[in-house]
């Protein structure tokens, strides 16, 4: 078992590199989290605007947060938001795309209109309105759900376009003639043909969603990774500028 895995990795070196990167990131967050007290991610835990040193590997920002602690606690949260929002978003988006494009007609018209309307409203505006309405800030999971509620629109539109042509192919028609039901065709005939694209959308979506959480409108209780990197870098810039 273990050996087949190793063989598989040796044949697909890119997979190995990707896994190594992901594991490296998790290891950084976990090991870093053991080395430093997460409480130091709070304001005033260090002197303000310190350059990197042994005690403060990434320095500190204007509010006196130890940026190393901020990043170690933030990385996993960002990953979590990206995964939850990405999987929900691509899952729901793909389901809607398959149903809309395969059945066509008024189902397609309605679903497509909903998607098109949703796509027109800027994400940033929705996020800010949500943040303003929930004045007291939100948990990480709620935030992931909010982002997921926006993330399904885009995959729905792109996946639909390919299903439109797939449903006319000979193998789909044969399946239909031999009495396979609509859902059966979607799962057994259409989905396998789009699996690579679904995976690519998932990766893109995870990246993009963890990027969305940068909109710092949510006044979060805890900081997330993308923000933290941004702050660390910005802090350095300020210091050089001062």
């Amino acid at each position: 078992m273990g050996l087949t895995w190793m063989n598989y990795l040796a044949r697909n070196r890119e997979l190995g590199v990707g896994l190594a990167l992901l594991l490296g990131m998790i290891a950084f967050a976990v090991i870093g989290g053991l080395l430093v007290d997460p409480q130091n991610a709070r304001p005033l835990s260090a002197r303000v605007l310190q350059p990197p040193s042994w005690a403060l590997p990434f320095g500190s920002d204007r509010q006196g947060r130890n940026l190393f602690a901020v990043i170690t606690t933030g990385t996993l949260l960002t990953l979590r938001i990206g995964l939850i929002a990405g999987i929900l978003g691509v899952g729901i988006g793909a389901a809607i795309a398959f149903v809309a494009a395969y059945y066509g007609g008024w189902v397609d018209s309605i679903l497509r209109s909903i998607v098109d309307i949703g796509l027109t409203v800027p994400n940033l505006m929705i996020l800010i309105v949500v943040a303003l309405t929930l004045r007291q800030g939100m948990t990480v999971n709620v935030m992931a759900l909010v982002i997921a509620s926006l993330a399904w629109l885009y995959p729905a539109r792109t996946i639909r376009s390919q299903v439109l042509t797939l449903r006319e192919r000979a193998f789909v028609q044969i399946a239909r003639l031999s009495g396979t039901s609509g859902p059966g065709i979607i799962v057994k005939e259409l989905m396998p043909n789009l699996l690579p694209y679904l995976m690519a959308s998932l990766v893109g979506s995870v990246c993009c969603d963890s990027r969305l959480d940068r909109a710092r409108c949510a006044r979060p209780r805890r900081l997330r990774g993308a923000d933290a990197w941004y702050d660390a870098l910005l802090g350095q810039l300020h210091r050089r500028g001062d």
């Binding site: 309307i117 027109t120 409203v121 505006m125 376009s161």
Partner: protein, 334 residues
């Protein structure tokens, strides 16, 4: 299909624009801020002392902007104004007209974002297609992972790193703005060069950041075309590699990519908000950000309405051209 489908599709376009515009009207108002009162308070705080007539002032301005009327009346005026592309006055920058502000920012955003989107679309798709091509040159497949890693980095962070390394440490490019401060925008070579010089960093950030995404999508679609019978047949016929690659491979993989391109071109009116903010670029993105922060209803409404129309048009054109891109798609009457 054609005429019936065309009429139905155009009808849906107007329906979408109307519904989205309605959403756009009510969404900022859910947040329940009073933009005029806020602005007056802000000005008073800056001025130092609070005036006795403040409430009257707020009321006066509210009636001027029409915010004191019942919501449904505001909504009707809004709809009528939108059909004439009249976006009213900016609350935060009174007495500037929203349409003027948008017109000022639009060329910046359209040039920067449209240019970079098209460039990265073409390069990214060709790169991605080669990733799934068995006879692709070696070096093409090796530059892919770094590009993918690049696209996982948020635009604004990439932008900041570029500003820091290229602009600040090496002093090779300007740090900020769309043109040198003090220069007067005009149609001349020197000003054009100045603008191009200032666009290099933001453009690089966007292209580097989005190449990987396009390539990933294209690769995934291209892989599915490789095993198709018609490709095998074309190979057996002895068609040239070029024909196989472009006409048999990429042509059949382009649909989702074309969809994504149309959507991003539709969204380009709202700009790459964060890139514009990081680079202090005088485009629509910066304007939108200011509008949202300052509860400038009319400004936000104007920009979002443009986005709605642009995306509505983009998806309309898209749906009509699907059968041209892929003749297998048929629009049946439902």
């Amino acid at each position: 299909m054609p005429v019936y489908y065309l009429a139905k599709r155009v009808g849906i376009f107007f329906l979408i624009v109307w519904l989205a515009a309605t959403l756009n009207f009510f969404l900022p108002r859910i947040a329940g801020d009073n933009p005029v009162a806020q602005k007056v308070m802000q000005m008073a705080a800056l001025g130092g002392n609070l005036h006795a007539g403040m409430q009257d002032m707020v009321k006066e301005y509210q009636s001027k902007f029409g915010i004191d009327k019942p919501l449904w009346k505001q909504y009707l005026t809004y709809l009528v104004d939108m059909t004439r592309f009249d976006f009213g006055y900016s609350i935060a920058n009174y007495p500037r007209k929203v349409s003027d502000m948008i017109l000022e920012g639009l060329p910046w955003t359209v040039c920067l974002i449209m240019g970079t989107t098209l460039i990265s679309f073409v390069i990214g798709n060709v790169l991605g297609a080669f990733q799934a091509w068995p006879r692709a040159p070696r070096w093409l497949t090796t530059i892919m992972p770094p590009l993918l890693a690049m696209s996982a980095i948020p635009f604004f962070l990439l932008g900041l790193i570029l500003v820091y390394v290229v602009g600040f440490s090496l002093q090779l490019a300007p740090l900020y703005g769309g043109y040198t401060a003090g220069a007067i925008p005009q149609w001349s070579w020197s000003f054009g060069l100045d603008v191009a010089y200032h666009a290099v960093l933001p453009a690089t950030a966007i292209i580097l950041g989005s190449l990987g995404g396009w390539a990933l999508g294209m690769r995934a679609m291209m892989v599915t075309t490789q095993g198709e019978d018609y490709v095998t047949f074309a190979e057996a016929k002895g068609l040239s590699d070029r024909t196989l690659f472009v006409d048999y491979g990429m042509r059949n993989a382009i649909l989702p990519q074309a969809t994504a391109l149309a959507l991003s071109l539709g969204q380009l009116v709202s700009g790459a908000v964060l890139v514009e903010i990081v680079f202090g670029y005088p485009g629509i993105g910066t304007l939108l950000f200011q509008g949202i922060r300052g509860s400038d209803f009319f400004l936000v409404q104007g920009i979002v309405f443009l986005v709605i129309v642009a995306i509505g048009l983009a998806t309309l054109i898209l749906d009509l051209t699907y059968p041209l891109l892929d003749p297998r798609i048929v629009h049946r009457n439902a």
